[in-house]
């Protein structure tokens, strides 16, 4: 009996992009394979496997509130404004991040990923050594467009001065195992945020399921 080879899905190379590949992808204009990351103010931002990204000028900072606790399932724009306020700086001006504080910043560059690449946001070790952790949710899916929200936390004991425009984090680009499509990604592809975004946790569908489970278990 003859065995016919099953059609294999198109397999792409895997792993982290090299510097040469990064430079090539960043220079492709209007191509489906191009990475849009602009403005890159200094060519030295491009390293082996990663690109340094700069701190933007908008911050969501927590403010004093009479909330006893945050309920993620209630998080919409109005709720969030009760305990976060937007601070706007200018490029070059510093933001002071106090010890054990978490604020939401934003990447200065605008990023658009092609179908076959994902990205991972990581802290730069130089800033990490003074206590700055830049991202907790680090995965960026293929076809992402916008300025990434950066969770900035100071784990040190001394306030950190962070100039807007400083290269405080890096993007590592990894090859996806297949070409992603806009339909797979869903409606977020059109969103294109340019300022830090709070989490729209209210829209998660799990809350209803969890509530039902809780009700069922409470009745046992």
């Amino acid at each position: 009996m003859k065995r016919t080879a099953a059609a294999k899905p198109e397999l792409l190379g895997h792993g982290v992009l090299t510097k040469a590949e990064l430079v090539e992808r960043l220079s492709l204009k209007g191509s489906e394979r191009g990475i849009y990351l602009k403005p890159i103010l200094d060519a030295d931002q491009i390293g082996d496997g990663s690109v340094n990204i700069r701190l933007g000028t908008h911050f969501l900072v927590p403010k004093a509130s009479d909330l006893g606790h945050i309920r993620p399932q209630d998080m919409n724009a109005k709720y969030v404004r009760g305990f976060q306020s937007l601070v706007v700086k200018t490029f070059g001006e510093s933001f002071i991040l106090h010890p054990h504080h978490l604020v939401l910043g934003v990447m200065f560059e605008f990023l658009a990923l092609p179908q076959d690449l994902a990205a991972i946001v990581v802290s730069r070790s130089s800033f990490g050594r003074v206590g700055l952790v830049v991202a907790t949710a680090i995965y960026v899916h293929p076809l992402w467009k916008g300025c990434l929200t950066l969770e900035l936390a100071n784990y040190g004991e001394i306030p950190l001065e962070l100039p807007c425009g400083a290269p405080i984090a890096q993007l590592v680009f990894v090859k996806a195992s297949k070409l992603h499509t806009a339909q797979e990604i869903g409606p977020t592809r059109k969103y294109c945020p340019i300022r830090p975004e709070f989490a729209c946790l209210m829209e998660m569908s799990d809350w209803k399921t969890l509530d039902r489970i809780k009700s069922n278990l409470d009745n046992v």
Partner: protein
């Protein structure tokens, strides 16, 4: 009538009557100053407000010094009383005029990305000195755009009070005066529309007023208006206002192109001024006529481009220049004064042309918009590696309108259209910011390496 026993009695009376009022004002001013200095409000509004706060802080010390000087002034009851009145009046004036700008703008609607590009344009075309002029964006609660230009209040106060009281300026006040700018300019926008890039053409209309006042573009025009047939006793002030509005429109048109016209028409729909003339402003339709004539001068009407903006301009120009426009009877003389004499029409257009020089022409539009638009259609901002700031800013503001006009002609749902409009505003602002920072980075890098 102040009663008292000699100089000491008079001063005590004055002190009691006026210093409480003055101290109340100073106290509330100080509170506002402290709030502005410590707030986390956006740059542009608060940084200018911060300068203003330091300035008013200096004034407060100044006023205290003056109050002391008045008390210690030579014997003269009448002079002391007059001085105190003048003094209290000025503190009140300063408080009312300037302290309101210490209120920081709402950061969520603050268009910080356009602040520095607008200031560069003001310096480039307006003849203002960069180090002596501060520009800020300030939200207010009117649904309108406006411009407020303030001179340095220390100058105002010192000129009047020092002269009338023959008092020498204290040294620490002199030091503050040297640090402060001569001119504070606030471009005011309606809070809800701060980040609505479709209306940002109107920021340049306001800038047009500032440039006009410095370069006195509209002043000579009023002298050549001859065909006045009306009887309105306020005619000179109404004509002055109308000419200034038209000149401000044309200055903006030259600097950033047809987006000013589209923004003006969009705002007119909301503000119900499409056909309504007023003593301060001609109707939107009248202003559109002038703007279309000027766009014709810089090549837009004759352009063969098939971009929606150009087609719209051609269409509006054809309709408006051939239409029989009839204003309300009371404003007919004003329309006639400006439109029936070709010398006046020519003078208005030529004065603006000669004073500004630069124009974002139809050729610029045609060559630059398509690339920006292609980026927007792909949900990307347009950030070239290097571009002349003024042309890029105009390209972005006009590409935003080109996108809108194209979308309106398509069959998208209203919800879809609205969502796209929001995204385009974000992409537009990012484009402006990205290009501006790119340019100043390049400039500063060159300076560092040289």
């Amino acid at each position: 009538m102040i009663k008292g026993r000699g100089r000491r009695g008079a001063i005590l009376q004055i002190d009691r009557l006026y210093s409480n009022e003055v101290r109340l004002l100073l106290g509330s001013q100080k509170g506002a100053v402290e709030q502005a200095s410590s707030s986390l409000a956006p740059h542009g509004a608060s940084r200018l407000s911060e300068s203003l706060a330091h300035l008013l802080d200096a004034l407060e010390h100044y006023f205290e010094e003056y109050l002391t000087s008045i008390k210690n002034s030579p014997d003269n009851e009448l002079e002391s009383k007059t001085a105190a009145i003048v003094f209290a009046r000025y503190v009140g004036f300063i408080h009312n005029q300037y302290v309101r700008f210490l209120i920081p703008s709402d950061p969520y609607s603050f268009p910080g990305e356009v602040l520095h590009p607008i200031k560069d344009i003001l310096i480039k075309f307006g003849g203002y000195e960069a180090t002596k002029t501060s520009l800020g964006l300030f939200h207010w609660d009117k649904y309108n755009f406006g411009i407020i230009k303030l001179s340095n209040p220390l100058d105002l106060v010192t000129r009047e009070i020092e002269d009338s009281l023959s008092i020498k300026r204290p040294k620490r006040v002199e030091e503050q005066v040297k640090k402060l700018v001569d001119t504070l300019i606030f471009i005011c926008y309606p809070q809800a529309e701060g980040r609505n890039v479709f209306l940002h053409g109107l920021l340049f209309h306001e800038l047009g007023h500032v440039i006009d006042s410095k370069k006195m573009i509209s002043d000579p025009i009023l002298k050549i208006i001859k065909n006045w047939t009306g009887t309105n006793p306020n005619a000179p002030s109404i004509l002055t206002s109308w000419v200034k509005e038209i000149v401000a429109d044309l200055i903006a048109i030259r600097i950033v192109g047809p987006c000013v016209l589209f923004a003006s028409r969009m705002a007119a729909l909301t503000m119900e001024v499409m056909d309504n003339d007023s003593p301060s402003h001609p109707s939107s339709r009248f202003r559109a006529l002038w703007m279309l004539e000027h766009l014709e001068r810089i090549g837009y009407v004759d352009s063969k481009s098939d971009l929606n903006s150009i087609q719209t301009i051609r269409d509006w120009h054809k309709k408006l220049t051939s239409a029989k426009l009839s204003p309300a009877k009371e404003y007919e003389p004003f329309w006639n004064a400006l439109r029936s004499d070709s010398a006046v029409i020519k003078a208005i257009h030529e004065n603006v042309e000669q004073s500004i020089g630069y124009a974002f022409t139809a050729a610029d539009f045609d060559s630059k918009i398509s690339d920006v638009l292609a980026h927007f259609n792909n949900n990307l901002p347009h950030i070239p590696n290097s571009a002349k700031s003024t042309a890029h800013l105009a390209s972005v503001l006009n590409a935003v309108w080109e996108k809108r006009l194209t979308d309106l002609a398509s069959e998208q749902s209203e919800d879809e259209l609205f969502k796209w409009q929001e995204i385009i505003c974000g992409l537009g602002l990012k484009s402006i910011e990205g290009n501006y920072i790119q340019n100043i980075w390049n400039l500063n890098e060159k300076d560092s390496s040289s």
